[in-house]
């Protein structure tokens, strides 16, 4: 049986709205689960049966066209909430990008619990509003930005998102910062609405321009933060 007191996201996830007693009840209806990269927790189009809190790792939310094109519509980090409470079908799948640990609830149980705990619903509302804002900002990128602006924006977002999280290494090195991307090139393409080749070409251009260094496939060293900001548009 998991113990919320030891949970690393206890104070950041929506659970932070609950006292010890309430937490015990919530704990009783949830269970933790680990996931391997590529493993899915939720599939696009199915009835919404599960919701979860992310404890560790990174997951993608994605939709596909019938002919197989994919768009990643969200990226989920520790303390984030996944799933579609309050009925309906899930519009997008949730798949682990890294090894991940999640705290899973049956949607029905969670819904019932949430409706009795307004403070929890309030936290969830704040989170959902923030996620909607972030998603809408991403639409500007998808609809109106060029490939180079897209990649620069992506790297800046990654820098920001990966910094506070314990799941990916990240240290100061003078003015430069190393980030370890939880994405393959194809997945970056699926976030940005580009092809893998275009992403690759933009990476090598940034490297040739001295804006980043690419010590390995997944690692990026941000050498010139200002140049990235300028290029992000």
């Amino acid at each position: 049986m998991a113990n919320c007191d030891l949970c690393v996201v206890r104070n950041r996830a929506i659970c932070s709205s609950l006292d010890a007693q309430e937490l015990e009840v919530l704990n009783a209806i949830g269970r933790t689960r680990t996931m391997q990269p590529g493993e899915s927790l939720i599939w696009e189009g199915e009835d919404s049966v599960l919701v979860a809190n992310v404890i560790d790792g990174v997951l993608k939310l994605s939709t596909n066209t019938e002919d197989g094109r994919e768009q990643i519509v969200g990226v989920v980090y520790p303390s984030d909430f996944i799933g579609r409470p309050f009925g309906g079908t899930t519009g997008h799948g949730a798949t682990a990008l890294t090894e991940a640990t999640v705290c899973v609830f049956s949607r029905r149980d969670f819904d019932a619990f949430a409706r009795e705990h307004p403070a929890l619903e309030h936290k969830l509302l704040e989170r959902t509003l923030a996620e909607l804002d972030r998603t809408r900002r991403w639409m500007l990128l998808l609809g109106r930005k060029s490939a180079s602006e897209k990649l620069a924006s992506f790297l800046l977002e990654m820098e920001e998102r990966l910094r506070p999280s314990g799941c990916v290494w990240n240290f100061e090195d003078g003015a430069s910062r190393r980030i370890t991307l939880p994405f393959s090139r194809q997945q970056i393409a699926d976030v940005l609405g580009l092809t893998i080749e275009t992403v690759s070409r933009q990476f090598t251009r940034l490297k040739n321009d001295g804006v980043v260094d690419l010590p390995s496939r997944r690692d990026v060293i941000l050498l010139d933060h200002a140049a990235l900001v300028a290029e992000a548009g």
Copy 2:
């Protein structure tokens, strides 16, 4: 002083969670306001000072890049909620596309009221979750669909959204349906992440293919619904 009992969206907006007494309190802190096409209620980047319910008309939510490119990130219809409760700055402007009537609240007043009325927050949460789903579905269109798929998807969405609303004419005519778009060509381009010329060319192609008829700039008659669905991808 407005009277919520007479409000046409009384039973569809988040207000439907409130009883007569509560409604009176809410009514006391809000006021109705009419807007002309092009008039803005909220500006991108400013502190969040207002929230509102849409009573009548259609508004757009939009963001811009520094160099003036625009992306419409949401379209708001009667009974929808606008604005960013619970702090922060607004990430996108809200501008009337048609004549509109809105029920406006100071964000501080609304926040305080909402925190004391969990049923209202619950309604708002359900609405926000639904809007997030819709927005994420739109990302697939922006990131992965071709111009023709985009316009077909747009017309189908318009058909669905404009049907129940009283704000735009819309009647059965055998199998075909007429819709009056609340958008100029430029605004359609800003929704779809295209240029105005491309939108125009796709419209004339659909017309030449007999899929739609275009009796005027703002009117579209959907002649072949199945063809649109097939083309939407």
